[in-house]
Structures are given as C-alpha cells and as structure tokens.
C-alpha cells in the first residue's frame, strides 16, 4: 500500500515537473471597477479553478502552456469567457457586466472545492439563500447556514449559531470585517441581516487561516453589497410580520454609489389579538397581560471610486429589538394591586470605513476603521400600587451588558512570487465592556432606569498581527502557513499568545483533494449563558485579571471532491475535527440570572472538547440544486466547581444531524424549495428524584423535617430532549411587469407541525406532578409580496 502511494506521489511530481506550466492571475471587478470577492474563475475543460479574494484578485497556477479558455462568473453578473494561448505567465483583469435582474435566475459557478486550501468552508450565494423556504415570509442568512452540516441553531427561539460543538460566542461574525456580538432579532426568528444588502456569506468551520482571530470555533464572514453605480433600483417586500425595502443607485454616476435598506416589524399588531385568542381558549389568564414585541434595522453603504486603483466604502448598520410585557393583578380584597413588568431591549450599532488601494499589479492594501456597539438591557419590575393614595412601591432588577469596540486594521496582500500569495496585517481593538446587574427600589410606574452606581468598566486593548502564505508547493500540494499573534491587556493584566495556523491540501487528482489543518486560537471575550439558548440575556464578559482568556487547539482532516456533469456540478465533502478548549466559561451551580454579585464570582472556567465528522453531497444545477448533509458529533465540558468536577455533555452535544435541502426551478418565474432538518435532542438538567431535606430557614431547624422538598439532579445535563426535526416548504412566483418585477412568496414552516421541544419543566397541576414540554412553533403558513423596481430614472424618462 505504501509503495502504491509513493508511486502515485512520485508520478504526480514527475508529471508536474515534466510539463511547461504557466500562471494566470489578475483581478475580477464589475464594470465600475469594484472588486468582486468570491467570483468563480475556472479553466474550461480542465476542472482547475479558484475564487477571487477580498480585493477581487485571483491566481491560477500550474496551467499548461497551451490554449486556455477561462470562465469568470459572479452572482448577478454575466459570466465572461476569455480564450487565449498561454505561452507565459499572464495577467488578465476582467470586468463583469451586471446582469439585468429580470427575474431570471442568476447563477454563479461555484468555486471549485478542491482548489481551496481550507477545509470546512460553506459558501452560500444570496440567490441560493433567497430560494429557501421563508419563515414568516422572509428568507434568512443565518437560518440558511443552519441547514448545512456542523452548523445548528440550537433550538427554536435560540439566537445563537452553534458550530462544531462550540458555543455562539466562539463564532466570529464579521460584517465587512468588523465583529458583531449579536446576530439575531426577536429570539432568533429573524437574523440581523437584510438579505438584499448582503453580497456574500462564507462560513469557515475550522482550521482558520491566520488572518482571523479573537474566537475559538468558526468565522462567518458577511460582505455588504455596494450600490449600483449606473442606475437606481429599489425593492420593497411586505410579509406577515415584517416589511422591508432597499434602494441603490449612483450618487455620482460611475464613481459613487449608495445602498440603503431598512426593515421594521409589526408583530405587535398580531401579538395582542393572538394572546387574547389563546387566553380565551385556554382560560389561562384574563385580559391583564400587555405584550410587546418589535424590531427595526437599517443599513447604509456608500461606495466611492477615486481611481481604478483606489476605492473607499462606508458601511453602517443599526438594529434594535424590544420585548416587553406587563402583567397586572388587581385585587378586590387587598387595598393594592401588583404589577409585574418585564422589559428587555438590545441594540447593535456598527460603522466602518474601508480604503482599498492597489499598490501595484501584485500588491493591494486595505485599511479600515470601525466601531461596533452592542447594548443589552433587562428590567424586571415588581410594583405594588396602593389604592389609598395611588402611591407606588416596589423593586426592580436591572441587568445589562454593553460592549463597544473601536477597530483599526491595516492589511497587505499580494503575490511576491508566482507560487505564493501572501497576506499580512496588523489590527488594534479597544474593547469597552460594561456588564452588571443590580436591584433598586422604585416609586414610579413605569420604573425609571437608574444607572447603577459603581458599575465596573473593563477596558481591553487587543493588538494583533498576522502573516500567512498560501504556497503552491507542487502541482498536487498547496499549503497555507501562517501565524497569528495577539497581545491583550486589561487593567493590569497582560495576556499574549502566538498561534500557528497550518493548512495543507493534497490534490492527487483535479477532482478530489485531501485537506488537513491545525490551529491554535485565543479568545479574550466570552459569554456567560444563563439559559443556554443564546438569549440576549447572555452576558458578554471580557478576560480580566481573575478570568483568563479562552484558548483552543484544533485539528481537522477532510476530503473534498467534485464531479462536473452536464450543466451542473456535484460536490462532496467529508470532514473530521477534534477541538480542545481551555478556559471555557460557565455559570457555577446555583448562580441566578439576576444577582447582585460580581459576575466574576459566579463564573467557572473549565475545559471543553468537541469532535465529530461531517458529510455533505451537493448538486448545483440550472434546474435544481440542493444538498444532503450529515453530522456526527460529540461535545463535552468539565469544570472543577460543577458536576463534581466530572465531564458532562454540553447542552448542544448533538449526536446526529441531518439536512436535506432542495430547490427546483419548475419553469421561468416559478421555483419550489424544501428543507428538512433533523437533530438529536439537546441536553437539559432535570430533577429525577425527590427526597426530604431539612428545613433550615426557621428558627427551629433541628426538629423539622421538610417533606419531599429536595430534589436530586444526579448530574449536569442528565436528560436528552426529544429530537428536533422540521420540514419547511416554499414556492415563489415572479413576474416581470411594466414597472419591474413582482414576487409572491408562499411558505410553510414546520409543514407537518412537529412539536419540537423548547424547554421541559416539572409542573404541579393540582397535586398531579408532570413533566411538561413547551414547544414554540406549530405549522405556520406565511406569504410575502415583493416589488422590485429597476433603473427607475430611465423608466420615468421614457414615460
């Protein structure tokens, strides 16, 4: 066997060295010169290909000195084929024309899975995401990602994304290069991102290259789309619960463009009648609950081209959520009524300015300044209103978490040699963390938020530098070698880390590759989760002198293959991973959500390990596309202070996960989609045994036996919930009208109305003790109506 492999390797070497080889490189942009990152570049008939980088640059190496036909394609743009005789290394800069969005499905050739040195990369095109079934009439980027192997949403109502057994805080989510701390609206029902404003989303699930840092598990990289430099377009969409719109166009034709989008929910219009319906039917409560839900967001992107070599872009984002409710209990006997008021809100702000400059044909520079802010607040108020004098008295639990980052980044990328593509950069982040909870008394209703005195502020200075080289060692071997260094200072504590990042791609044939990666990661900011479902109530906390940063080591091994068939391509990937974490955070046993204690006294640092395998078979075609994915995984945690110091399964230790996604263009203008997902149930902690405990809260403790008033949970996460599975269906009808494109979208969420578990609780119903399961969403039909207007000024002139 060894001899056979050696022969294979040697024959590859000899074959590679015997042929004259050339390199073709260059840049892919749109007709206005804006870089098109992620554009597919492949050599027709050979299967060789790559994708363009962040500045649109690409490079194809080891091509035969022969007649070549290279195809460039990018979503929303007309593919372009360039044929020539390559006798030497050649530079080809391509400008792709924007395709008229006339309702025809726009297709992009997907980057070839074997060419990329990284493994475990999921790259979804917006056109693909928009075809997936919509929840409440709206397609969603983060929900689409959870349909891929190794990525899960945890549970319904969860705001976090869980990748390969990691917690949501271990995923780096970048919007135009700036990390975000929250990615969801309204308990995960909607993601933070308006799909129309995003050009590309890519998830790296492990083996991260050196340019990424600050998180342990994965990277989700979202690029905001630049506005059209030639014509004005607009789109509006109205769904059951939300309305959204965006507009784009030139501010100065050919050089400056804008793109603005906004969304607003009107869930409140539905919430109260639905609540009354439920209350009336179930006779659970009278009319004294006033619920409130809502979210809003807005995007703005400005692009300006100074010259062919220099561009600048501004990205702005604002998102706001609020969930509140008020329960009033009037009393006829007592001279008072009680009011319970729950008010939770969170807000995300982001702004960045990016300057891109081509220093010369081989080197690019990107400089970025940015700020990101996440502000979360909860108030639980319990107020008594005295009828005698209408005075108020009560107390409020106030709980808040705020984190603000200021970023400065400088990156260089280029090709010093035909076999090397190098990136190097430096960045600085100033973190400002504020996290605390307090209790205070109030005399007003609604209670006024009182800024808690003496809230500790943690100011962290996070300086990183990286260098990485994508090195074509031989025609069959590519290596990504890099190092990421970080120095983090908070108060008087200083932490540092040097992280090697190594990736190897062995390509014995053009159709398949074996890839491996090893990485060290470092995370100075983590999350303490109260409920374990990624609620905004989770507290973002910095490393401090008492709480050291988290570190991890990860090894990944994978096989990628593709097989071109007529008008379509089949891709296959199989990845295995093992990750070891040191310093993972968890609340200690008995910690309560609202507590006056310093969070550092309630946090336990421990170890984690996660391992598993993922399989994916994907077809991308003109008529139908889709994939089948399977995940087998394990994830465990261990803390000295919890579970007697023994290992226990992480809440999202999901043993099996299956995803089937399918979209079919029945005929022009009509497309059908379906997705089905299955996941082993999550772990929760439930008491299983009751016994008598001694009562120690009276003044005669020794002579009292408390009855069966103590419970034993045996171990942390001792009960696995029922499995989660769900089928979503969607169909969309598009029609070109005089004014633009009209789209009707009809979708069914949870088509067979599976009661998926959200939480379990022990309920004592008139002495009958039961284990009850709470599910959130039964079958939910949804529809939306969209209007897309293109080249608005041109049309008005014609009129």
């Amino acid at each position: 066997m060894k001899t056979a492999w050696l022969t294979l390797v040697l024959s590859g070497c000899l074959t590679g060295s015997a042929m004259a080889q050339v390199q073709v490189s260059g840049r892919v942009s749109d007709q206005e010169g804006q870089a098109l990152p992620g554009a597919a570049v492949y050599v027709s008939g050979s299967g060789k290909g790559t994708s363009s980088g962040a500045s649109g640059e690409y490079s194809l190496q080891g091509l035969p000195a022969d007649s070549l036909s290279i195809v460039f394609s990018y979503v929303g743009h007309k593919p372009q084929r360039v044929s020539f005789y390559a006798s030497r290394d050649t530079v080809i800069n391509v400008s792709l024309q924007s395709q008229n969005l006339s309702g025809a499905q726009i297709r992009a050739e997907r980057q070839l899975v074997t060419e990329r040195v990284q493994t475990g990369v999921v790259n979804l095109q917006m056109a693909e995401i928009q075809k997936l079934p919509a929840l409440f009439g709206e397609t969603d980027i983060m929900r689409a990602l959870t349909l891929t192997p190794g990525v899960s949403n945890g549970s319904e109502g969860s705001m976090g994304v869980y990748i390969r057994g990691g917690s949501p805080d271990q995923n780096l989510v970048l919007l135009d290069g700036i990390p975000l701390y929250n990615v969801a609206h309204i308990l995960g029902f909607f993601s933070l991102f308006n799909t129309e404003t995003i050009s590309q989303v890519e998830v790296m699930k492990g083996g991260l290259p050196a340019r990424y840092g600050g998180r342990l598990a994965a990277v989700t990289d979202l690029q905001v789309r630049s506005g059209d430099l030639q014509k004005h377009n607009a789109e509006f969409n109205i769904g059951l619960l939300t309305a959204k719109g965006f507009a784009e166009g030139p501010l100065k034709k050919g050089s400056t463009s804008y793109l603005a989008g906004a969304r607003a929910s009107y869930i409140n219009l539905w919430a109260k009648p639905v609540m009354k319906l439920i209350n009336g039917r179930k006779n659970l409560i009278e009319e004294n609950i006033e619920p409130g839900f809502g979210f809003y967001d807005a995007n703005l992107h400005i692009f300006h081209r100074f010259s062919d070599r220099t561009r600048i872009r501004f990205t702005g984002y604002w998102g706001f959520d609020r969930i509140n409710s008020r329960v009033i209990n009037p009393s006829e006997q007592d001279p008072e009524e009680t009011r319970f008021i729950f008010d939770m809100s969170w807000q995300t702000l982001l702004g960045s300015v990016t300057l891109e400059h081509n220093l010369n044909p081989d080197w690019n520079m990107t400089a970025r300044l940015g700020v990101a802010d996440f502000d979360y607040r909860t108030q639980q108020s319990f107020i008594r209103v005295f009828y005698v004098d209408d005075s108020r008295s009560g107390s409020v639990n106030n709980y808040f978490s705020r984190i603000r980052d200021h970023h400065a980044q400088l990156t260089f990328s280029g090709r010093p040699h035909k076999n090397h593509f190098v990136r190097a950069g430096i960045s600085y982040i100033y973190h400002r963390n504020l996290a605390d909870g307090n209790t205070f008394s109030v005399t007003t209703d609604p209670p006024k938020a009182v800024p808690p005195p003496g809230t500790p502020v943690y100011e962290g200075h996070d300086l990183t530098a990286f260098a990485e080289d994508e090195w074509r060692v031989a025609s069959f071997l590519k290596a990504g070698i890099g190092v990421h260094g970080v120095a983090y200072q908070v108060k008087r504590s200083f932490y540092w880390d040097v992280q090697p990042r190594i990736s190897l791609a062995f390509t014995p044939s053009e159709n398949w590759a074996v890839k491996a990666a090893y990485s060290h990661m470092f995370q100075p900011i983590g999350m303490l989760s109260t409920f374990g479902i990624g609620l905004p109530t989770d507290l973002w906390v910095p490393a401090t002198p008492k709480i050291a940063p988290q570190r991890s080591k990860e090894a990944v091994l994978g096989i990628s293959a593709y097989y071109p068939v007529k008008d379509a391509r089949l891709e296959f990937s199989l990845d295995g991973y093992y990750r070891q974490i040191d310093g993972v955070l968890e609340y200690v046993d008995g910690a309560a959500f609202v507590n006056d204690a310093d969070w550092q006294d309630l946090a336990a640092r421990g170890k984690g390990r996660a391992y598993g395998a993922e399989f994916m078979l994907r077809k991308t075609g003109k008529v139908w596309s889709g994939w089948i994915g399977y995940t087998l995984s394990w994830s465990y945690r261990r803390f000295g202070e919890i579970n007697g110091g023994e290992w226990f399964p992480y809440r999202y230790d999901r043993r099996h996960g299956v995803n089937v996604v399918f979209s079919w263009d029945i005929k022009p203008g009509i497309s059908l989609s379906a997705s089905w997902m299955y996941g082993t149930g999550n772990w929760v902690t439930l008491p299983v045994t009751a016994y008598s405990g001694s009562v120690s809260v009276t003044d005669i403790p020794l002579l009292m036996q408390g009855g069966a008033n103590a419970e034993d949970i045996q171990s942390r996460n001792n009960f696995r919930m029922q499995a989660y599975h769900r089928l979503d269906l969607g169909v969309s009808f598009r029609k070109t009208k005089k004014w633009g494109i009209r789209t009707w979208t009809i979708g069914v969420y949870n088509a067979y109305s599976r009661n998926n578990p959200f939480l379990y609780f022990i309920d004592n119903d008139n002495g009958n003790i039961m284990l009850k399961k709470l599910s959130l969403f039964p079958v939910i039909p949804a529809f939306s109506y969209g209007m897309k207007f293109q080249d608005i000024k041109q049309k008005s002139r014609k009129k």
Partner: protein
C-alpha cells in the same frame, strides 16, 4: 415570585404548545435518606426515610426499620431508636454531641446498601456580644427599614464558617407570636451578597478582615400594610457556628430553594455527605439573642 412570572409569561405566550411528556422521564432509583443536623443543645437526632421519583405524588416515606449508630473516630458512641411516625430517631442513651469532637453515622436500611455519613466535627459556641437595635422605622429607598447591629464575639479562627439568621415575629391579635417572614432580606457589604439567601447570611470569618466583627443589618421589605405598622415585633438573632458539612448543605439548599422553578438560573445541586443515599450529617453550635420591641 418574579422568576415564576417569567415562566408564567412564556407559558401563556405559547400555551397551545404545552404537552405532558411524563413518560420520557427516566425512572428514579429509590435510595435511603438520612438527615441529621446535630448541636450540643440536643441529643443526637436523625430522620430516616426513602427517596421517590420526582413525579411521585405520594407523601414522604418514613423508614422505621433503619439501624443507625453514632461513631466517634470509628468508635461506637451510641445507637439510635425510632421514636416518631415521621421517621425521627434519637440516641438511645440520649448522648449529646460535644464541642470539639468529630462524629459520623452509619446505618442499614433493610435490603438497601449500607449507608454511612462523612465525619463532622462539632464547633465551639461563638456568642453574639451585643445587639444594637434602632427601633425607629426609617424609610430608605422607599422601604420601611429598621437596623440591627450585631457585634460578634471572637471570630478569630480563620476559615471558620457561620450562618447568621434573623427571625422576625409579629404579635398577632390573639396575642400569639407568629413568624412573619422566613427569608429576611438584608443589606450588607456587596461582597457577601451571593451568600444572602433564605436562612440568613452565610459567611466565613476569613471575609472579616482586620478583626472587624460588627455588621449592621438593614432589615427591610416591601412596605407592609398600614395595619401592621404598630405591631410589636420580636427579633431573634441566631449565630450558628457551623461545620463545613452543615455550611455546604445549608448554602446549597438555600440556593436550590431560590432557583427552583426559574428558567434563568443554574441548577443548584444540594450538598450531601451520605454515601449510598441522600441527605446530610452536619454539626453546628448556635447562639441566640432575642429582642422584643
């Protein structure tokens, strides 16, 4: 109250999606239970019963057939006899625990595996040196408040553990003192706040730096109705000098009671030092002072 409202709201919002899934819960293994919190003020006593499944609605199962014995450093001190239908056992020779000595309990519960406790040493009594009461209600943060200052005796042994409890009794119209509250909230140094639970303040004297042994107890609550303003109050302040076993048990049990039913709290397992069973064997030495005003 508040934590239950959170769950209550959640249930009301999604009431149509609640199902009984009791069949899914794994059956619990029945184990013997032994609870014995002993003090030099009383002979050794213990409670014996059996655990049950969490969904079992039957009452506690007192166990009358247990054979329990008290040991001091593996030497038998006394055996225990069953005296009460509630599962109460008492030392057959009315042996009293003695301060400074270390004890354990062993027992057999019929066919169940032999049960044994860890060792617990009886602490010495630490007196409250002085109580200083400001009987005038003052209004602080809109709460009717009165102050109780507690001055301890010698707390000079580093690492010793204490529970300080305040029991407030109100004289009712029939002239009987009734316990008006079990969980007295008090304001204290924020460093100890997580130790302030039902049952009082749990603390180690290692927290009391530089020999400071006074604390001011700010007893307050949501404003009582006007009719209660002129009631007589009786305050009992109790300082329990506790063994590590009792301290761990009392603290974890209080947290368990606080977090029970809350979806926003971490599970709070109750400390136990009983092998092959549930429960606690712990020792303490308490000192009480009473003020009536």
């Amino acid at each position: 109250m508040k934590k239950r409202y959170c769950l209550y709201l959640l249930i009301v919002f999604f009431a149509s999606c609640i199902k009984d899934e009791s069949d899914l819960l794994p059956s619990a293994v029945q184990k013997p239970v032994l609870n014995a919190l002993v003090t030099p003020a009383l002979p050794f006593i213990a409670y014996a019963d059996l655990s049950k499944g969490i969904l079992d609605t039957s009452s506690v199962l007192p166990y009358a057939e247990a054979r329990l014995a008290i040991y001091e450093n593996e030497t038998l001190v006394d055996s225990m006899m069953y005296i009460d239908s509630l599962g109460l056992y008492i030392a057959r020779q009315f042996t009293f625990p003695q301060a400074g000595k270390c004890y354990s309990i062993k027992g057999s519960y019929g066919a169940y595996p032999l049960l044994s406790s860890g060792t617990s040493c009886v602490p010495v009594q630490v007196p409250i040196q002085q109580l200083i009461l400001d009987t005038a209600f003052s209004v602080e943060d809109n709460r009717d408040t009165y102050r109780v200052g507690v001055q301890f005796g010698d707390l000079s042994t580093p690492g010793d553990l204490y529970q300080l409890s305040l029991y407030r009794y109100r004289l009712n119209k029939q002239g009987v003192w009734e316990l008006s509250t079990r969980c007295v909230r008090s304001a204290w140094n924020a460093e100890y706040n997580d130790r302030e639970l039902c049952g009082g303040l749990y603390f180690s004297d290692s927290y009391l730096s530089s020999g400071v042994s006074d604390m001011i107890w700010l007893d307050s609550g949501i404003r009582p109705s006007a009719a209660h303003h002129h009631d007589s109050l009786q305050l009992i302040v109790e300082l329990k000098h506790t063994s590590a076993e009792y301290y761990q048990y009392a603290l974890t049990y209080a947290k368990y009671l606080r977090n029970k039913g809350s979806i926003f709290s971490q599970p709070a397992p109750i400390y136990s030092n009983i092998s092959n069973g549930y429960g606690i064997f712990g020792t303490l030495h308490s000192y009480r002072d009473t003020i009536v005003f």
